[in-house]
C-alpha cells in the first residue's frame, strides 16, 4: 500500500517536472527541471526492476546530457543576465495538438485488451550479467554499430563546432 502510494507520488513528480520543463520561462530552470525529471524517472526505473538502467540514466542523461545542455546555454548566451529567456509561442494551438495526440495514445492503450503476449506475470529482476550476455550475443551487431554511431556523432560534433579547421 505504501509502496503504491510512493509510486504514485513518484509518477506525479515525474509528470509535474516534465510540465515545468515545457513551460518554464527561464531556460536554465528548464534544464534543471529536466534534471529532476530524469532523476525521478531513474527512480521509476528502479521500481521497474531495472537498476542497471537507472544507473545509466543517471550517469549518461543526468550527468552527460544535462551538462551538455548547460554548456550549450552558456555558449550561446554569454552576455545573458540572470534569466535566459525561453519564450513560448502559440501555446493554445500547441496544447490542442498535444492533447489530441494524448487522447489518441490513451485510447489506444486503454482499448487494447491484452497489452503483453504472455500472461501478465512480472518478470524477474534483470541482472547486469544478463544484459551483458544479450549485448554480446543477440545484439552483438547492433552493439558494434552503436559504437560506430557514437564515433560518427563525435566526429560530427567536433567538425561542426570547432571554430577553425586545422
Amino acid at each position: 500500500m505504501i509502496g503504491t502510494l510512493f509510486l504514485l507520488a513518484l509518477l506525479s513528480l515525474v509528470l509535474l517536472c516534465s510540465v515545468q520543463v515545457a513551460r518554464c520561462p527561464d531556460l536554465v530552470h528548464s534544464v534543471l527541471w529536466l534534471a529532476v525529471t530524469l532523476l525521478s524517472t531513474a527512480c521509476v526505473l528502479v521500481w521497474l526492476a531495472a537498476p542497471f538502467l537507472a544507473g545509466i540514466q543517471i550517469v549518461l542523461y543526468t550527468g552527460g546530457v544535462i551538462t551538455l545542455m548547460l554548456f550549450g546555454v552558456m555558449l550561446t548566451h554569454r552576455d545573458a543576465t540572470a534569466v535566459v529567456p525561453n519564450p513560448i509561442q502559440r501555446p493554445a494551438v500547441a496544447l490542442v495538438a498535444a492533447v489530441t495526440l494524448l487522447a489518441i495514445l490513451l485510447a489506444a492503450i486503454w482499448r487494447t485488451p491484452e497489452l503483453a503476449p504472455a500472461a501478465m506475470s512480472p518478470q524477474h529482476e534483470v541482472t547486469t550479467l544478463q544484459i551483458g550476455q544479450v549485448l554480446l550475443a543477440e545484439q552483438l551487431l547492433a552493439f558494434e554499430v552503436l559504437s560506430v554511431l557514437l564515433l560518427a556523432a563525435m566526429v560530427g560534433a567536433i567538425v561542426l563546432s570547432r571554430r577553425k579547421d586545422p
Binding site: G3, T4, L7, L8, L11, L15, S18, V21, A22, R23, L27, S30, V31, T41, V44, L45, L48, A50, L53, Q57, L60, Y61, V65, L68, M69, G72, V73, T76, N86, P87, I88, Q89, R90, A94, L95, A97, A98, L101, L102, L105, L106, W110, L115, A116, P117, M120, P122, Q123, V126, I131, V134, E138, L146, L149, L150, A153, G156, I158, L160, S161
Partner: protein, 102 residues
C-alpha cells in the same frame, strides 16, 4: 494493484511524450526544443522499461540501453548545430531561420 498494471506506466509515458510534443511545438528557443525532445526520449525509455518489466524482459532493457545511447548521439550533434546557428545567425531562436520557403 496499480503498481502491477502495465497501463499505468504506459499512461505516464504517453503523458510525458505529449508534454514533450507540447514543448517542441511551443518553444522558440532551440535549446528549449532540445530539452523537450529529451523529454520525449525519456518517455520512450520509460515505455521500453515498463514493457521489459511485463513482457520483453532482458531484451527490452537492452533496447532501452540502445535508445539512451541513440538519444545522446542525436543531442550531441543537435547541440553542435545550435552553436553553429548562434555563430551564423547571432541568435538561437528558431524563427531566425526562415529564409527558404515556398
Amino acid at each position: 494493484m496499480i503498481a502491477g498494471d502495465l497501463r499505468v506506466f504506459l499512461t505516464v509515458s504517453a503523458v510525458m511524450f505529449c508534454i514533450g510534443v507540447y514543448g517542441i511545438l511551443s518553444r522558440r528557443n532551440a535549446i528549449g526544443v532540445l530539452l523537450c525532445l529529451e523529454l520525449m526520449a525519456n518517455a520512450v525509455n520509460l515505455n521500453l522499461v515498463a514493457f521489459a518489466r511485463f513482457s520483453t524482459g532482458t531484451m527490452g532493457q537492452v533496447f532501452t540501453l540502445f535508445a539512451i545511447a541513440l538519444t545522446v548521439a542525436e543531442v550531441v550533434v543537435g547541440m553542435a548545430l545550435v552553436i553553429l546557428l548562434q555563430r551564423t545567425h547571432r541568435d538561437i531562436r528558431l524563427d531566425v531561420a526562415e529564409e527558404m520557403r515556398g
